[in-house]
């Protein structure tokens, strides 16, 4: 008998969820509780000792969050997931398992600006040292590796959009170095790109964006690909050494190919504390049910808007890999064949002043600092998120005075283009 593997849309609706065993509730209930009663004393001891599966306290795990974890792990093709309070929390939790003070990791310099800040400043306070590499010059990743390197970190489609990273080339470097490749798959979502198929060992998400998709909840998620050998050379003692806080158990040997997700939960999340609210998990789960429909529409609209902007007389350039002449077009065809995402930047011939007018003139687009909403969003980084930087620094960060970033929603594309049209005319 051959058994069917469910398709992506089926997983998006069902993976991880089943009718509630005690009430029959079909939608995933919001288990809005801090704690769970033990069946008996021995059961409690087994739970605390990681000898059995179950629920103790919502900082460590919650049944609503667990559905979300399994859902995203299934969509990504990983062995297990862990939900946390935000995308940034996911990055802290992952690095806390991998790094000790004085260790290094190599990261792409084309990342979400918040991640660049987190790595440059907050992580340095922990003694976790970032070494920047350039995804447009893959050799810089190889040259960034030292004996202290514990991981490589990239984004599949990089925020503010327009950059597609060559995951397989960087995975080959990670494998040679014997370190895990961590891929932030926030902008692509597993609908557009599955980094594990291209060699990622860990995938992280800001659920806040397209996975949740409705601009209503902050959340983050970690997926364990189950591919990395944590015990080789003893370089990852959180996984390969007896843990004093758990009676000397060795997590990798006990949990096999989902040990990394368990380490993130029982060491990192338990002790650092950024737990996701079950209410947020519920909203994000509801969002994920329509992920394939939304992403297809996001990409269709974005392609149309990018093509329209590229021909506009007030627009100097458009950076969207879905456009045939774009420098990342071939990488997009390989890694995101169903669409290059919904976030991109473009340049205005009129510079700073035109940018300010454009974001003031729009009526359908929302002027704000998020991406990945059903609604179309717009921001002029030079006058907002990057205002404090010098012009030179702005240009280096891809936030020059002429740059506008959009996240295209799922409204009617005629209305989206119509709004940009009137706003550009008046700018």
């Amino acid at each position: 008998m051959t058994e069917r593997t469910p398709g992506f849309a089926t997983l998006a609706v069902h993976a991880g969820a089943q009718p509630d065993p005690t009430t029959g509730a079909r939608a995933t209930p919001i288990y809005q509780t801090t704690s769970f009663v033990f069946d008996d004393v021995d059961h409690a001891a087994s739970l605390f000792g990681l000898q059995t599966f179950g629920n103790i306290y919502t900082r460590i795990g919650n049944p609503t969050n667990a559905v979300l974890e399994e859902r995203v792990a299934a969509l990504e093709g990983g062995t297990a997931g862990l939900a946390v309070a935000s995308g940034h929390a996911a990055q802290v939790v992952v690095m806390h398992v991998l790094m000790k003070p004085g260790d290094e990791f190599v990261a792409s310099k084309k990342l979400y600006g918040g991640s660049i800040n987190q790595f440059n400043h907050s992580f340095k306070n922990f003694g976790w040292n970032v070494v920047w590499a350039d995804p447009d010059d893959i050799g810089t990743f190889e040259r960034g590796i030292t004996p202290k390197t514990k991981a490589i970190f990239i984004e599949s489609i990089a925020n503010p959009g327009g950059v597609i990273t060559d995951i397989e080339a960087i995975s080959a470097i990670a494998k040679r170095a014997g370190v895990p490749l961590i891929v932030d798959n926030t902008l692509a979502t597993p609908y557009l790109c599955k980094p594990i198929e291209h060699g990622a060992d860990v995938v992280v998400h800001s659920l806040t964006k397209f996975l949740g998709g409705h601009g209503n909840s902050i959340g983050g998620l970690i997926v364990d690909a189950g591919t990395f050998n944590w015990s080789r050379e003893g370089r990852y003692p959180m996984l390969s050494q007896p843990r004093p806080e758990y009676n000397g158990i060795v997590l990798h040997e006990t949990f096999g190919n989902f040990a990394f997700a368990i380490a993130c939960r029982v060491l990192s999340l338990r002790d650092m504390g950024p737990a996701l609210s079950p209410f947020n998990a519920f909203l994000i789960l509801t969002g994920i049910e329509t992920l394939p429909l939304r992403m297809a529409r996001h990409c269709e609209n974005t392609q149309a808007v990018a093509e329209w902007l590229a021909k506009h007389r007030k627009v100097a350039w458009v950076s969207y890999p879905g456009l045939p002449g774009d420098r990342y077009h071939n990488l997009a065809k390989k890694y995101a064949p169903n669409g290059a995402g919904a976030v991109f930047t473009f340049g205005l011939k009129g510079g700073y002043e035109t940018g300010v007018k454009l974001v003031s003139n729009v009526k359908l687009f929302s002027h704000l600092a998020n991406i990945g909403d059903t609604r179309s969003l717009i921001i002029h980084p030079a006058s907002t998120t990057h205002k404090q930087l010098s012009d030179e620094q702005k240009t280096q960060a891809g936030a020059g005075p002429d740059v506008v970033r959009v996240s295209i929603g799922i409204e009617d594309k005629a209305d989206i283009i119509g709004d940009l049209d009137q706003a550009l005319e008046a700018a």
Partner: protein
């Protein structure tokens, strides 16, 4: 039988039929994976028998330890091999010499010996390799989903509670014929 991937129905069938399981190579230490698996399966109602020559005559979790399979005074349904792969042929030979023979040889996560498997299969036994019965039970009962693990199962049917408390689930659960227990490492090395 391919040993890279098992249909869920095959694993579920085994875990639903066997009642007495001899675990060869169980550790008496309460922080070892074998101890965890033994305790978990005992708690799910299996008649667990520890086998470890170094511990013979002692008890583990209240169960008398035997030195070897041949010393066990009752019929056993399944042998769970918690030893390195090189010892599997000898354990299979001992299992085949038992009267009555067990129905299943199960080699733990990380343990795979194709030669021993072929011998056991030629003797009419079912074989599972490189899997953990605790993880498989947790996966097929849906308990493991509480840990965010991808159970690779899918269903619109309610899971069933085991009967003692509410945090133990039973194997009486219907799933879509969907998941196979893929050994991702093996699948990968083949694909590459």
């Amino acid at each position: 039988m391919s040993h890279d991937s098992y249909p869920d129905a095959y694993i579920r069938g085994i875990l639903n039929t066997v009642k007495t399981i001899a675990m060869v190579g169980i550790s008496p230490k309460d922080n070892r994976p074998s101890y965890f698996a033994f305790k978990y399966l005992l708690d799910r109602g299996y008649n667990m028998i520890p086998v470890n020559p170094g511990q013979a005559g002692h008890e583990i979790l209240g169960r008398k330890v035997y030195a070897r399979l041949g010393d066990i005074p009752e019929p056993i349904d399944m042998v769970d091999v918690f030893r390195a792969a090189q010892y599997a042929p000898q354990i299979v030979a001992e299992a085949l010499a038992l009267k009555p023979r067990p129905q299943v040889i199960w080699m733990q996560l990380g343990v795979r010996n194709d030669e021993a498997a072929a011998t056991a299969e030629a003797g009419g036994l079912k074989v599972v390799m490189n899997r953990c019965p605790k993880i498989e039970y947790g996966r097929l009962s849906s308990e493991i989903s509480w840990m965010g693990v991808n159970s690779r199962t899918l269903t619109a049917k309610r899971a069933n509670i085991f009967g003692r408390g509410v945090q133990r689930m039973s194997l009486a659960r219907t799933t879509m014929t969907g998941g196979t227990t893929i050994d991702s490492a093996a699948a990968k090395s083949k694909g590459a």
